[in-house]
Amino acid sequence: MGKTTAKSALPTNELDTVFKGRRGRVLKVSAAEADGIRNILANPNPPTPELKAAWEDYIRHAADNPDSNW
């Protein structure tokens, strides 16, 4: 990670702030990786029980700590 400097907290939709003015980039991948990306996006799995549980834990934690920016 590059050298960091403190910055004030971003608003809720913080990725918009990060991506603002950025053109984006094309990622070089292998042919097998490109196939994999297309296949996974075309056939998304439902959330695993572990993902559901982690998400619900997160939602609870964020609700219990509204001032902590979780």
């Binding site: 910055k7 070089k28 490109a34 990306i37 993902l51 982690a54």
Partner: protein, 149 residues
């Protein structure tokens, strides 16, 4: 887990990081994640050329050894999922792509079974589609538009 986690945004040269500190105002970082400030707008390979797809790149996620085993890393991932869901409502973002630094890091994601899938055998890149995230409980409470927006 205590209630004093607080996020501040740090802007690095190569990415944006969100850090967890033990209490407001603390300078001690106990966990963080870093994303690439340039979203992926396409992938390119030597065989088929360029293919448009929007992805958020997770560069790194780490937890201080003293705080490992408390679920902080998993909560950080969930927080990132929430942010990606929010931004995906109006940007063409289809998933989170991460590059595991080593096999141990890759195993961390796969063993937790949080939906990240290897994009190819032996690849260190793992992908979690937005479509999977949208199927999570209570996502509707985030005020997102319906799927397909």
């Amino acid at each position: 887990m205590d209630d004093f986690f607080h996020f501040e945004a740090l802007k690095g040269k190569d990415g944006y990081s969100w850090v967890v500190v033990p209490e407001p105002g603390s300078k001690r970082v106990i966990a963080f994640y870093t994303i690439d400030p340039d979203p992926v707008i396409g992938i390119e390979d030597d065989e088929y050329g360029e293919y448009p797809v929007g992805l958020v790149l997770l560069q790194m996620l780490g937890v201080d050894k003293a705080y490992m085993g408390q679920g902080i890393g998993t909560r950080l991932l969930m927080r990132m999922i929430k942010q990606v869901l929010l931004v995906a409502t109006h940007r063409s973002i289809s998933g989170i792509l991460l590059m595991a630094l080593n096999q141990k890091a890759k195993d961390w994601y796969l063993q937790r079974n949080l939906g990240f899938r290897e994009i190819a055998p032996e690849s260190m890149r793992l992908l979690l589609p937005v479509a999977t995230m949208r199927m999570l409980p209570e996502v509707a409470d985030l005020g997102l538009p319906p799927e397909g927006f």
